[in-house]
Symmetry: C2
Subunit: 316 residues, 2 copies
């Protein structure tokens, strides 16, 4: 695939912050759109010239887990991040299991819809997965923790699923303003105990049925435990930066709090989410607030790490 | 209420093992059947002479949580174990919120169905809750960890909900034999890594969709993580004897493993489960393998702690 659009993910910032220069170069990036340049002999559904989007995990599309819609647990696939020789922040990528992985786009590569279609590779699918795994319906109150791209698209997803109240917890005004545009009914800038108190005030004292945790840190998890309603669910899509966490009597068990979520099977949602983008009903691509070429990628990482930009689109 | 039948719970063994004699006497017991002797002025649906069963938590039956079927999170109720002045291993109990809490039994106090009806107070409702919270259906494979009364009744519940495979993990032959009678298709006596390996062999390598954890210890939780299928759910009903546990990328997140369960709203299931007991279709009371009077209660605790008996029925 020749990459025509790609981007930097919030999860790319974890290795960006922790990798040492002495580890040598690493191919990065797991969200990309591009044009098929050449196909392997087993590829049946794609041909040179097709414009396609790649989810952040590749998958065969035929195993038990793919058929159940859990493509991120495909028995033959894995995450791009686990493949040291491939990455989407590049001129070109070799895509394994192309038939199962890639999704054709019915537009031209220079379409104005490209930023929104690019979100199908990860952040929109991930936000949507958070809402689906949390069981959001029109009878649900939702808290979204985190005003990054995934959190904001979780707000949009909860709105699409009809949530009656969506409380966005985030401190960056430009981001939470976009969250309101996507459907947040309330914004809480406070964190920790004060933030928990504020969400409880907004929700009749009991917290919300669904809490989407779109950060991945321990304070975000603790905040989720603090604002979830008895019998409710914490749906996690931020990659956990911890292994052990409180789940005993006091935190989850006492009030039948459930835990859900994980890596989103973005491939499972692509066809479902695409029509609303194509007909202009939603514009998830608004999460991109900067664009760069490949040479500008290092600065793009730095700007995202410094919270100067929300999400950087790359045009190789 | 004059208590006509009560029993010792597996969870009574936790304080039994940890309480110090210097703490003084404690009223124990949260599973009981009895006859209404006197009613408070607000009681509307019960009268002197009614035979009733009490769930292990009392609840008003009218708050938001009770109406949602989550009686254990009732805003006015709590667990009997939290009420120092009341307990069911006694001649009599004062029952708060009687209308919301107590369930009338359409039999006489000397009915042969009494052991089975007594399980509605806790162990049957808890086993059933584990299966319901885990989402057991006729397309589900289930592992049940623990061959105590709750584990065995979780087997019966999974069978009632149509599970296609039920693997019971337990080491006590007389108990696992009852498990087979209740519907277990496979029994695994091995524990730890060996037990996990054995369950995976029995389930096509991937583990089961639902894992019911009916013990509450860390090794049981780790076993649950080991045998749950990607996208599956660990349903906990054993009171956790830990607060922190692994829930990060490696344990739950990577494969979208969900966590469910908590204290069973036994009150919510009483009417649903009673008919099959009354018409003899099921006999959950088989978990009682010993009977004593009040004087024999201390020996009953000791026998259960020593695993000499599975569950002791008390006739005050």
């Amino acid at each position: 695939m020749r990459v025509t659009a790609s981007c930097v993910c919030g999860s790319d910032l974890w290795p960006y912050g922790s990798m040492s220069p002495v580890d040598g170069p690493a191919r990065m990036g797991h969200e990309f759109i591009g044009i098929v340049e050449e196909t392997g002999s087993d590829v049946r559904t794609l041909a040179k010239g097709d414009l396609v989007v790649a989810p952040f995990a590749f998958s065969d599309g035929t195993c038990d887990f793919c058929r159940e819609g859990l493509h991120t647990s495909c028995v033959h696939g894995t995450f791009w991040d686990m493949e040291p020789d491939e990455g989407g922040q590049a001129e070109a990528v070799r895509v394994p299991l192309a038939d199962g992985t890639l999704v054709k786009l019915p537009v031209a590569a220079d379409s104005a819809l490209m930023p929104s279609l690019l979100t199908l590779s990860d952040v929109f699918g991930t936000g949507y997965h958070a809402a689906v795994a949390g069981g959001v319906t029109e009878r649900t109150r939702v808290t979204v923790i985190g005003d990054g791209a995934v959190g904001l698209l979780a707000v949009l997803s909860a709105k699409m699923l009809g949530a009656e109240q969506i409380v966005l917890m985030g401190r960056h005004r430009t981001r939470t303003d976009l969250g309101r545009e996507f459907g947040a009914t309330d914004v809480v800038a406070a964190r920790g105990e004060e933030g928990i108190e504020r969400v409880r005030e907004l929700t009749g004292g009991h917290g919300t049925h669904v809490v989407i945790e779109a950060v991945g840190t321990m304070p975000a998890y603790e905040q989720a435990v603090g604002v979830v309603r008895p019998g409710g669910v914490i749906s996690r899509v931020g990659v956990p930066q911890y292994e052990e966490a409180p789940i005993g009597f006091a935190s989850l068990f006492r009030h039948n709090i459930r835990l859900a979520g994980g890596p989103a099977p973005a491939r499972a949602y692509a066809e479902e989410l695409m029509p609303a983008i194509l007909d202009g009903a939603i514009e998830p691509g608004k999460v991109f607030d900067a664009t760069t070429d490949l040479d500008g990628v290092p600065a793009g990482y730095q700007d995202m790490a410094d919270r100067k930009t929300l999400k950087v689109l790359i045009k190789p």
